[in-house]
Symmetry: C3
Subunit: 468 residues, 3 copies
């Protein structure tokens, strides 16, 4: 078996596999629309070479780090930086540790992505192991020094038509300035993610709110001034290509308070006398405010909800966030989105894409809601569910009630540049597999299936994010 079988992930039954291949062939070479993700805009602005194999594949990939940690490998041994500046393994030693445990990824999407990236980017055709660790490390690290492996060249090679990064409201947008100078805005777009100034539980929130005021010349001590500051920042982000906002919330709750209540809430938050529930209400109200601004300025609103972040305080203290200790929680989109949708759900200028990690809501709540509200689309399978089985469950649970055309296509949502083509390929193969079963069971004909595949792979994201 080669590292990447051309029929991987397609169905086992020969008749259905042949159908799947025909569908896949219709989409496998389409350009990539990457409307939501966490790649570093400085990569593209500076277009410098990546340093080595470990800094490309290992240390930025929390999917990989967490799995190794779960088997008792320390983050020191994996080269994850410490806040106290203490010594951690260098790239080569960390890589060896990783390579020696690569069998742990059997059956996980990480293996699919890494195998794909090694083959696609570096022509590697053998599975990583202790035996070949050093050789592969050198091969990747050397290849990374060549011009056609710089970040912008990788976008070309992967046929990325448009990619969105994600910046906090207070981000100086320096990388975006350089991208503008290079004429890359439009292909590379930012996204307005104001969690730093909408979530009172964020470290430094009060200082952030003050900085937001300074940055925009607004009085962020008054509710109206604070909203105006957002209005201004959103416009700034739009000038760098942003068509969307994004909101990360632990719960999935919106609110629709009366004006007087809003100012009173802000006052309590500002004074430091806020009760625990106030932070949640503030987040909930700010989501509805962002919806109101989206109606005004046409930015697509994304909500990523229902994740308990940093559940290991020891890790957080030692090394910070985004290292694998974030665990999903149950949510109720029906109850939580009601205040917002009752206000804006029928508005022709509002467009909302919701993501959550509670799959029990797919068929029970999200599909019926997306199949009713004009404003609402369901975001693609997120995080742990962006995997072959996760995608299969997603389509199985959603399509019958939401239809194909209330889905927002695919997001790779990644911090790992080389996983972009890999993730899109898994989506394309999974979509082909799903549709081939419908063709084999005579629920679609092949022409319809191919049209739907093109929609799910390309058109849906482009339309949902207003890239056309």
């Amino acid at each position: 078996m080669p590292l990447l079988d051309p029929d991987r992930l397609l169905p086992a039954d020969p008749t259905t596999r042949a159908i799947a291949r025909e569908i896949y062939d219709a989409v496998s070479d389409l350009a990539i629309i990457s409307p939501h993700g966490h790649t570093d805009p400085h990569w593209f602005a500076e277009d410098a070479c990546f340093e080595d194999a470990a800094s490309l594949f290992l240390t930025p990939d929390h999917y990989v780090l967490r799995m190794l940690r779960s088997h008792g490998l320390s983050y020191d041994a994996l080269g994850v930086p410490r806040r106290d500046g203490g010594a951690v393994a260098d790239g080569r030693h960390a890589w060896r540790t990783f390579a020696g445990q690569y069998h742990l990824f059997a059956g996980t999407p990480s293996q699919l992505w890494i195998d794909h990236a090694m083959n696609w980017g570096f022509g590697i055709d053998e599975r990583l192991s202790a035996a070949n660790a050093d050789r592969i490390y050198d091969q990747i690290t050397e290849r990374l020094q060549q011009d056609d492996m710089r970040p912008c060249a990788i976008l070309d090679k992967a046929k990325v038509e448009v990619i969105a990064t994600t910046e906090f409201a207070l981000d100086p947008l320096a990388a975006q300035g350089k991208l503008a100078d290079k004429g890359l805005v439009g292909r590379i777009r930012t996204t307005y993610r104001p969690d730093d100034v909408t979530d009172p539980d964020m470290p430094g929130f009060l200082a952030n709110l003050k900085r937001l005021g300074d940055l925009t010349n607004c009085d962020t001590q008054s509710w109206e001034g604070m909203i105006e500051a957002h209005r201004i920042r959103r416009a700034a982000f739009r000038s760098f290509g942003a068509t969307a906002t994004d909101h990360g919330v632990p719960d999935l709750v919106t609110a629709d308070l009366a004006p007087r209540e809003k100012q009173a809430l802000l006052n309590r938050v500002l004074s430091g006398t806020a009760a625990a529930a106030d932070a949640a209400t503030f987040r909930a109200q700010m989501l509805t405010e962002m919806a109101a601004l989206s109606v005004e300025d046409g930015m697509v609103m994304q909500i990523h909800a229902g994740i308990d972040r940093n559940t290991d305080p020891q890790l957080f203290a030692e090394r910070g966030p985004n290292l694998g200790a974030d665990i999903p929680r149950a949510v109720s989109p029906r109850a939580g989105l009601a205040p917002m949708l009752q206000r804006f759900g029928n508005h022709p200028d509002f467009s909302l894409i919701v993501f959550c990690l509670d799959e029990s809501t797919y068929a029970r709540e999200l599909a019926p809601m997306a199949g009713y509200w004009p404003a609402l689309k369901v975001g693609p399978p997120w995080w742990f569910h962006d995997s072959p089985r996760g995608i299969a469950r997603y389509l199985d649970a959603l399509v019958e009630t939401a239809g194909f055309y209330n889905l927002a296509g695919f997001n790779d949502d990644t911090r790992a540049l080389l996983s972009i083509p890999a993730r899109h390929d898994v989506w394309r193969r999974s979509v082909a597999t799903f549709l081939s079963d419908m063709v084999a069971r005579r629920l679609l004909n092949l022409t319809e299936a191919r049209e739907i595949a093109v929609w799910l792979v390309y058109g849906a994201a482009k339309q949902a994010y207003k890239f056309d």
Copy 2:
């Protein structure tokens, strides 16, 4: 591909498909038992022709309306009547709008049902589209004027052995009187659905309770009198063939209060001083009262639980209920049914069928409960889950723990007459598919599979609803 492939929905693998076809052939022509639904009894009592294609296929079908609305088509353009009597599109224009967007239904059960009904009822063999909209509209509308497309003839053509409609407690049962005169009671049966007088959150509840008293000569201000009034109405419904009651509740909660508490609760409800929780407790207690009456009079009790109705107040104000804005919620049958089951769950004269839209309860709660309590059966997949994938998930999650024989067979639960044969056909094909996999995997032989199929398609509903 013809509009309806004879092997549609059967499995892709050729060996398994052949088995599925053998199982399907054993049930495809069986008479239809339709023990729960929302067809209009006046259709059968008056047996008048349907007006046109739109009034048959479009305006009464909230599955279809909601999907079109979710893509920004207005209910005005779809001909949905307004409460203010304002103008809406006529049948032909609404139909054109629908036909032009028919591709939105790809992958949904609505497409299966409509394709089936168009072919089965009207011999149409092409998919609806903008191009053929007018021609198909005329073809259907003309055909509807012929005698063999009147409602009763449709029941014959569909081999409907028995069908139950659903009426509120205060319904005058005028249609049923006419059906009795025509000798049709028994084939067409009513169902006692007293939500109008058991749910204090219903509009006009207090007036309804008073009318219930007038109708039965009972004092509905006293708990005992109110129960007696139900006793009398249930008997009246039984005289028109009712073998079952049905109860629609937003939550899934029962209660078992002491007599003194019951009267105090009723007093609060009557006085208008009831707290919000009182309405929920009243509904909960009334479910247990209905169980007690079922033990007395032998009527089968159905509970349809866990739907948040009318979640779009704007739509409700404009056009009323049942137009697609009802969204499922999570429930706990284990906790919610405990008071009722602890009282009547072992009673040999009690028979309860529970439906909910929270699929996470199938394997976790409903199957273990139905596999223990003699009184309890699990209702078929309801509403959004009455679909090929919904049925597959239902059987997958329930059968191993509840067995086949604690399931209540199939309900079409529809307001759309021509969807009845279509929905039963989807159930039959889905059951054949499920069982064919068990035969192919040597868990059943073909004879057993056919017997179970006949049970699930015909015997189970007949027995569960006491139609034999």
Copy 3:
């Protein structure tokens, strides 16, 4: 079709089935590791013959009893003993009742297990029915009197390498003494299950706590003394081969109180003035205390959480626990385990295996948690989910995020001795089926699949329970 087809449960598609058979052949004859279950240690200590077919297959099997009861068969007719000593059916009559309704088990794992046990243990090759009930009853009952069907011989015949039973903290461990004399400790191990002295809702809890003090010479009125008593009992259990503890809790909640709060809580519990919530907090704190002791003494900690026991008070009053009226509930491992994991989740000497019956937590919480915390493994599908479809859902939901190597292998968790080889065989076939699909879809090669199968069938349990 013979009673047991050699290819039963393997996939239908011929290519995939051939792969599955190759994988299954690699594990079908491996020795059985049975690290958690509820067989009676006296069986092995005394090694007496089983009495008759009913006492082997019917009365100890709550899966079977509940299903028959759900169809209106009384526990009197099934020979289930009454607390009041009233007459119940004898073995033969109960067996006839069971045999006459055996078709009710179609599609359930009970049928798979019973068919397997009848064939494996007694060479029976026809399905049980009213017609052959007496003949089979006699055949089984006679065979049971032969030496090679005594309990220890059955362990040999089933190739059981090691089996763990489960005893409460106050168990005198008399059977274990005899097993030690016979040199069987090691092959047969006990497990420390202290629910009798950690759950204030248990009948007789206060007396139990006192007895725990007497047994260990500790003052169980003081928190420290109580913990010391556990320390001593755990050592006693270890002397009889125990490598693990087990904790059955209705909720899935842990706590991490300050020392002063612990004593105050114990005081309230002891004084009988405990509020309802105190019992829950006590259970929650005791789980964390047990984790602390596991860190000390190296015993593996199991938590079986989320079951509402004895939901039918009438049954419980009449005949006691474990007769089918236990119903699963929703839980949140993320929230519930946080206090314990924040304390011990990174500790290299802590090992925790969690089981629950809320499948919605598999992909949402358990897989991400097991894929992060070094201490945590996910227990195999439990109780109602230990079935072909339950296993398929389990692997589908967990593997992509937790990997294969954070799973704890298989437990049969049974009270029915002859179901042990049957249950392990279902697991082996289900694992082979799951992996064969991955091979057919080119996600694993056959060599890898076989290695993973051996791990899931043998190595994982052996390592997770420290049997090596």
